[in-house]
Symmetry: C2
Subunit: 335 residues, 2 copies
């Protein structure tokens, strides 16, 4: 099977792809496995654009599943995710890791998620062949980010990355989804961004394996630290359960980053020693399979009667002629 000769390129925001076009998947996969950055970029573009060749890419990458530790990194806008990611990459590289970074933007389905900031902020690492950095959007992806992200992770695993940072903006359902796709989830907080009850509201207590209190040199950092520790103390944990670590950092000054790396390593050890690594990966695979299958079903529903079935039902619902449940039943009946 060959890659279509003129695939959509609009969503390819990573910047390292393009140029010469490799025409067949086996060649691309072979080159990616040798560490060729252009081929890696090209494969991730296929994922982003939901290319018809994706099943073939996935099949070629299947045997590399589970080699890397996938580290999710999330937090509200303004807490310093970009800077922290940047410094983590530096520290992980210094420790000899090959590192992949996926900067995922689930919140901008309209623009495709590519903004100037993502392109420029990582320039420290662009000359380093042991780092792949990529902005991703879910535009066009059938199953959304929960399908696209693990596929991109698999490409990076195939390219030899052993740590993959998945950075997501904001705090919300998408982040929780992505947390469920990570082996280890870091939640960034910053003093003055809202107190501990806001963290509870945002649902981060449940998803965080490591809390990073960034900008820890600012007023209020100690209060934030105490609030989080207090919240964690309230939670009941059985023997052998992971107690989330709380780490203070000032990423912009490269302070505390080694502690973050240590916490990530400690969590990895816990995952392996308890069997939770396998559990999480099976859950991740289940989520991915579901997302892909539902994406296919969604597309089939959208295509019914040449795309006219759903809008016609929607008009009848908006006009109060039928209710949405009846409309959904009608749609399913014609599937």
């Amino acid at each position: 099977m060959t890659v279509p000769s003129s695939p959509p390129v609009g969503a390819a925001s990573g910047g390292t792809g393009g140029g010469r076009r490799s025409r067949d998947v086996p060649t691309l996969v072979a080159r990616a496995r040798e560490g060729d950055a252009r081929s890696v970029a090209r494969l991730i573009s296929l994922v982003e654009n939901d290319d018809p060749a994706l099943p073939e890419v996935a099949a070629a990458m299947a045997s590399h599943a589970g080699r890397a530790q996938v580290v999710g990194l999330t937090g509200a806008p303004g807490v310093g995710k970009s800077t922290t990611t940047n410094e983590l990459v530096r520290a992980l590289r210094a420790a000899g890791h090959r590192v992949g970074v996926l900067a995922v933007d689930p919140s901008s389905p309209f623009t495709g998620g590519a903004i100037l900031g993502d392109r420029i902020r990582m320039q420290d690492h662009t000359a380093d062949s042991g780092v792949y950095i990529r902005s991703m959007s879910s535009r066009g992806q059938l199953g959304g980010l929960s399908a696209a992200t693990p596929q991109a992770v698999r490409v990076l695993e195939g390219a030899g990355c052993d740590v993959i940072l998945v950075e997501t903006v904001g705090v919300g359902q998408a982040e929780v989804e992505i947390a469920s796709l990570a082996d280890t989830t870091l939640v960034l907080l910053a003093p003055g961004m809202g107190d501990a009850i806001q963290a509870v509201k945002a649902g981060v207590l449940e998803i965080a394996d490591v809390f990073v209190i960034n900008k820890a040199d600012r007023p209020g950092a100690d209060a934030t630290y105490r609030d989080i520790q207090g919240m964690l103390a309230l939670g009941e944990r059985g023997p052998g359960e992971w107690r989330p670590q709380v780490v203070r950092a000032v990423a912009v000054k490269n302070e505390g980053i080694d502690d973050v790396v240590a916490a990530i390593g400690k969590h990895r050890e816990w995952l392996e020693s308890t069997g939770n690594l396998q559990n999480r990966r099976e859950q991740r695979a289940a989520a991915e399979i579901s997302a892909l299958a539902l994406g296919t079903l969604r597309a089939r529903m959208g295509d019914l009667r040449g795309g006219a079935a759903l809008p016609a039902l929607a008009t009848r619902v908006a006009n109060g002629e039928i209710d949405p449940h009846a409309a959904a039943a009608e749609l399913l009946a014609s599937l």
Copy 2:
């Protein structure tokens, strides 16, 4: 059809339901239409718990579709959404509206989204029979929030509310989804919560009909105002397109709230005069129908082989035996 005698009640966080249990949907609907708060609360609990009686509730409510203006209100944690909602309710009540409030928490699928803060913060209005206030989670809802929220909106419409505020925490995909369900979307910002590029990252430029710069008495408010106006000036808009309004407020002092109400009214006039109100409602109905249909399909997939099919495929994917696309195809084939 009757409501089951022992429905799950864990997600019923609104506090006004419970007690005497109404056993049949027509009675509940009739009472809700007369403005009985307990019946409204009970119906929303049915929505939250994805009760088997939901299709019947939906059918009874269908003819009330589209009577209320649905106003989404979103923003990062800490910008003052709760306070702003509270003051908006006060102003809308003073103007003679019947108001419904859905405080939606998409980010906490684990806890069900009910936290103390939501229960206590609205106590100003608990004695006012012209206001329904309800915390909602998507727990148990087949189609998630994109299915549950419009169903709850329909219940409130049926109860005579003509303005329904849907408040969501955080900024992310869930918020964008909810924005697509609203007639008018307010995005709250606050000085010092991150600059304009963060707003772009969070995808809010595309979804906001009205920007509210809250805490406008704080340092940096003017810079935030200018940044947003500058971003809006960059966007291309055709003739007749809506230009998002930017309003300054200090909700905690009740300053600028009337301006927010005026902006909401202005947007409503624009929606009606341009035909966009009908368009948005048809899109909303389409999203709701899709979500319900996909929820049903997800449940069917989960039930395959007594619930064993998906986990078995997931294990094979996690172990690198097959790829997720092949697994998804296998799952669909057995559907």
